[in-house]
C-alpha cells in the first residue's frame, strides 16, 4: 500500500511535470518565440532621449599569480535622436588615470550608413583632432571591451537562433546564438542570455574567429528606472588571457534635456 502510494506519487509527479511545465512555458511564449523575436523584443526596450552617467572601470591583470589593478574613471553624456540624420551624439570625458585625465572623445553617429564623425581632445595636444574609427578589435582604454562591443549592433547585423533556456540567479533566461552577417567581425558568434521577464541582457559569451570561447560578460546588478533598465555592475573576463574588467555605473540621469550644442568642439575642449 505504502509502496503503491509512493509509485502513484511518482507517476503523478512525472505527469505533472510533463503537462504542467510545458503549459507554463507555453504561456510564457517559450515554445513559440524565435531568436529573432526575442532579440527584437530586447531591441524594442525604450531608449532614453538623453543619458549621463559615471563609469568606473577596474582592469585586473593576473600575471603568474601577481594581481595588478588599474582604474579608469569616465563620464558619459549621450543624446539619442528619434528622427533626422543623427542617430546619437556622445561626449565622453576621462578623469583618471592621471596621464589621460581631461581627454575628451566626441562622436556623432548617423542614421544612414555614413561613417561616424569622431574627434579626440588630448590636453597635451592642445587642440581637438579629427580621428577615424578605431579598428573594431582594438581595446577600449585597455579594457576587455573592444570598440566593436561598445558600438552596439543593429538587429539585422546578426542571424539569431534560440538554442535553449537557462537560469541565472533564479531568473529564467532565453539563450540565443547570434552569428554576424557581415564579414570582418571580431567574433564568429555571440551567445546571449536574455532575461525572460525583464527582456534585458544578463550574460554574453563571445567566441573568436576560431570559434573558441574568448570573453564572458556578466551583468551582475541592474535597476529599473521607469521606463529604463540601468546596468549598475558588469564584468567582462577574457578567458584566454585571464584579464578581467569590472565596470560600475553610477550617477545615472535620464532625459534631462541636454542641448545639441553640448556635443560640439566647444565643450570637447572645455575639459571640464
Amino acid at each position: 500500500m505504502a509502496e503503491e502510494r509512493r509509485h502513484d506519487k511518482i507517476l503523478k509527479g512525472y505527469a505533472m511535470k510533463k503537462i504542467l511545465v510545458p503549459a507554463v512555458l507555453a504561456s510564457l511564449g517559450f515554445g513559440q518565440m524565435t531568436g529573432l523575436d526575442i532579440m527584437t523584443r530586447v531591441d524594442n526596450n525604450p531608449e532614453p532621449r538623453s543619458l549621463a552617467n559615471k563609469l568606473e572601470m577596474i582592469l585586473i591583470e593576473n600575471a603568474r599569480g601577481r594581481i595588478k589593478e588599474r582604474k579608469r574613471n569616465i563620464t558619459r553624456n549621450i543624446k539619442n535622436y528619434e528622427t533626422g540624420k543623427y542617430k546619437s551624439k556622445s561626449l565622453i570625458r576621462f578623469h583618471s588615470p592621471p596621464d589621460v585625465k581631461g581627454t575628451g572623445f566626441l562622436m556623432w553617429e548617423y542614421r544612414s550608413d555614413q561613417e561616424d564623425d569622431q574627434w579626440l581632445f588630448l590636453p597635451a595636444l592642445g587642440r581637438p583632432r579629427r580621428i577615424i574609427a578605431r579598428e573594431k578589435s582594438s581595446s577600449f582604454m585597455g579594457s576587455d571591451l573592444s570598440y566593436e562591443d561598445l558600438g552596439g549592433r543593429e538587429i539585422d547585423q546578426d542571424t539569431f537562433e534560440l538554442t535553449g533556456h537557462d537560469v541565472i540567479e533564479g531568473d529564467s533566461c532565453y539563450v540565443v546564438r547570434a552569428v554576424p552577417n557581415e564579414k570582418g567581425s571580431t567574433y564568429s558568434k555571440r551567445v546571449y542570455w536574455i532575461d525572460a521577464e525583464r527582456w534585458i541582457l544578463r550574460k554574453v559569451e563571445f567566441y573568436d574567429r576560431k570559434n573558441r570561447l574568448f570573453k564572458i560578460m556578466n551583468i551582475e546588478e541592474f535597476r529599473f528606472d521607469d521606463p529604463y533598465w540601468t546596468t549598475l555592475l558588469m564584468n567582462v573576463e577574457n578567458v584566454q588571457t585571464g584579464h578581467k574588467t569590472i565596470m560600475r555605473i553610477s550617477d545615472v540621469q535620464y532625459d534631462f534635456g541636454i542641448g545639441d550644442d553640448f556635443f560640439t568642439e566647444r565643450y570637447l575642449v572645455r575639459n571640464q
Binding site: 592642445g126 579598428e135 582604454m141 572645455r270
Partner: protein, 424 residues
C-alpha cells in the same frame, strides 16, 4: 633667485586653501646619452610639473608650472617656467581666454605650417614632447561659436622669439663665424638679437574661421605677426687688407600669413592638410663687398598633406608630405634653400591591454638628404608610474645654407634615453 621663487610657490601651495582645485601633474626624469664616441650625457632633465584647475559653469582658471633642473645640455641649471596661466570666461556664445596660453593652429604632427602663433622651445632641437615644444604666450583669445562654425580672434601684445640652446652646448645650432672670399677672411660676430619695441604697433594679432562642411573640418586663417627666425643686418664693420669683420644684429620682421587647413575621413583613412602663404618674409643674402650681408624680401609658401590610418590592436600609421618654397629666390640667399621637401612617418601601437606602447617617428629632408628617426617603448608599471626607453638617430651634412631645421648639424647626437614619469 630661482630657489627663492620655487620656495615661495611651495609655501603658497601648502598654505592656501586648495579645496575645489583640481591638482595634477608629474615628476619626470629624462636622461640621454650619446650613442657613439664619448657617450656624453646629452640630456639630464628633472622636472616637476604642477597643473591647477578651478572650473565653474561661467569660467575656468588654469595654471601649469614647471620646475626644471637641466643637468646638462642647455647651459641652464634650474628654471621655473609658467607654461600657461589663464582665465576663461564664458559669455553667451563666446569663450574668452586671457593670459599666458598655447594656441595650436593646424593639423600636422611634428611640423609647423599653420602652427605659428606660439614660439618654439628648440633647446633640445625637435625632441621635446609636442606639449613642451610650444611656449605659451600672453594673449587675449576669443572664440565665438555660431552653429557649426567658430570665429577665433587673437591679440598678442608682445612678440617672443624661438628659444635656442646656448652656444657651445650639444643642441646649439652652430653659426658661421668665418669664411674666405677671394683671399679675404670674413669674420661674422653675431650679437644678441634685437626684439621689436614693446609698443602697441608691434603687437601680433590673428583671425581664424573654422567650420564643418560636408563632413570636412575646414579653417581659414590670417596671422599678422613677426617671423620666428630673425634675419641679420650689419650694425658695423671693420676691414683691413685681408680681414673683414662684420658685427651682425639679428632682428625680427613682420610677415603676415594667410592659411588654410582641413581634415576629412574618406574610406577609412583620414586626410588632412595645411597651407600657408607668408608675405614679405625676410631672408639674408650675400651682397656686394662693403656690405657683406643684407636682408632681402620674398614671399614664401609652405604646405603639408597627411594621411592617418588605424590598424588592429590600437595601432595607427600616419604619413605627411611637406613642401616649402621661397617664391623670389636668389642663389645669393644665405641659410635657406629655394625649396624644401620633408617626408614624415609615424607608427604607434599599444598592447597588453594598453600596458605598453611603442612609437616610431621618422623625419626626412629630401633636398639635404638628412633626417631623424626616433623609436621608443614605454610601459605602465601602474596607473601612476611609466617607464620608457628610446633611441634617436640623426644623419645628414652640416651645411648651414639649407633647411629651416638642419638635421645634419646634430648628426653626432645619436642617443639612447630613459624616461621615468610619475603622474599624480
Amino acid at each position: 633667485m630661482m630657489i627663492r621663487r620655487f620656495s615661495a610657490v611651495l609655501v603658497m601651495c601648502f598654505t592656501m586653501n586648495l579645496s575645489g582645485y583640481d591638482l595634477t601633474g608629474y615628476f619626470q626624469n629624462w636622461t640621454a646619452v650619446r650613442a657613439v664616441d664619448d657617450h656624453e650625457i646629452l640630456l639630464s632633465r628633472n622636472r616637476f610639473r604642477m597643473d591647477m584647475i578651478k572650473s565653474s559653469a561661467s569660467g575656468r582658471a588654469y595654471s601649469s608650472i614647471d620646475f626644471t633642473s637641466h643637468g646638462m645640455g642647455t647651459g641652464d641649471d634650474f628654471e621655473m617656467t609658467i607654461r600657461e596661466l589663464y582665465l576663461d570666461v564664458y559669455i553667451r556664445n563666446w569663450d574668452i581666454r586671457i593670459g599666458k596660453q598655447q594656441v595650436v593652429w593646424g593639423k600636422a604632427d611634428g611640423v609647423f605650417v599653420n602652427d605659428i602663433v606660439n614660439p618654439l622651445d628648440l633647446r633640445f632641437f625637435l625632441l621635446q614632447d609636442f606639449e613642451d615644444i610650444r611656449m605659451g604666450s600672453p594673449m587675449i583669445r576669443a572664440n565665438g561659436y555660431f552653429g557649426s562654425s567658430k570665429l577665433e580672434l587673437l591679440w598678442i601684445p608682445v612678440f617672443e622669439p624661438w628659444k635656442f640652446a646656448p652656444p657651445g652646448t650639444p643642441w646649439s645650432f652652430p653659426e658661421v663665424s668665418a669664411s674666405t672670399i677671394n683671399d679675404l677672411t670674413v669674420n661674422m660676430i653675431r650679437e644678441d638679437h634685437e626684439l621689436p619695441d614693446r609698443r602697441l604697433k608691434n603687437s601680433e594679432w590673428g583671425l581664424k574661421f573654422s567650420t564643418f562642411l560636408l563632413g570636412t573640418d575646414l579653417s581659414l586663417l590670417y596671422f599678422d605677426g613677426f617671423q620666428d627666425r630673425p634675419s641679420v643686418y650689419v650694425k658695423s664693420f671693420e676691414q683691413t687688407d685681408t680681414v673683414l669683420t662684420l658685427n651682425l644684429i639679428p632682428t625680427f620682421d613682420r610677415s603676415p600669413m594667410v592659411g588654410i587647413n582641413f581634415s576629412k575621413p574618406l574610406a577609412g583613412i583620414l586626410i588632412r592638410g595645411e597651407g600657408a602663404y607668408f608675405r614679405d618674409a625676410r631672408f639674408n643674402r650675400q651682397a656686394l663687398p662693403g656690405v657683406f650681408v643684407e636682408k632681402t624680401v620674398s614671399d614664401f609658401v609652405q604646405g603639408v598633406l597627411g594621411i592617418d590610418l588605424t590598424g588592429p590592436f590600437g595601432s595607427s600609421l600616419s604619413f605627411q608630405y611637406l613642401k616649402r618654397e621661397i617664391l623670389d629666390y636668389s642663389p645669393t640667399i644665405i641659410g635657406s634653400s629655394e625649396s624644401e621637401t620633408w617626408i614624415t612617418g609615424m607608427f604607434t601601437g599599444s598592447f597588453w591591454n594598453e600596458n605598453a606602447a611603442i612609437r616610431f617617428l621618422a623625419l626626412y629632408d629630401r633636398e639635404n638628404e638628412s633626417g631623424l628617426v626616433q623609436a621608443d617603448a614605454s610601459y605602465n608599471i601602474n596607473d601612476a608610474l611609466n617607464a620608457g626607453v628610446g633611441l634617436v638617430g640623426i644623419w645628414g651634412g652640416e651645411s648651414l645654407s639649407s633647411s629651416q631645421f638642419n638635421f645634419g648639424v646634430f648628426r653626432n647626437n645619436d642617443m639612447v634615453y630613459l624616461k621615468l614619469t610619475y603622474s599624480y
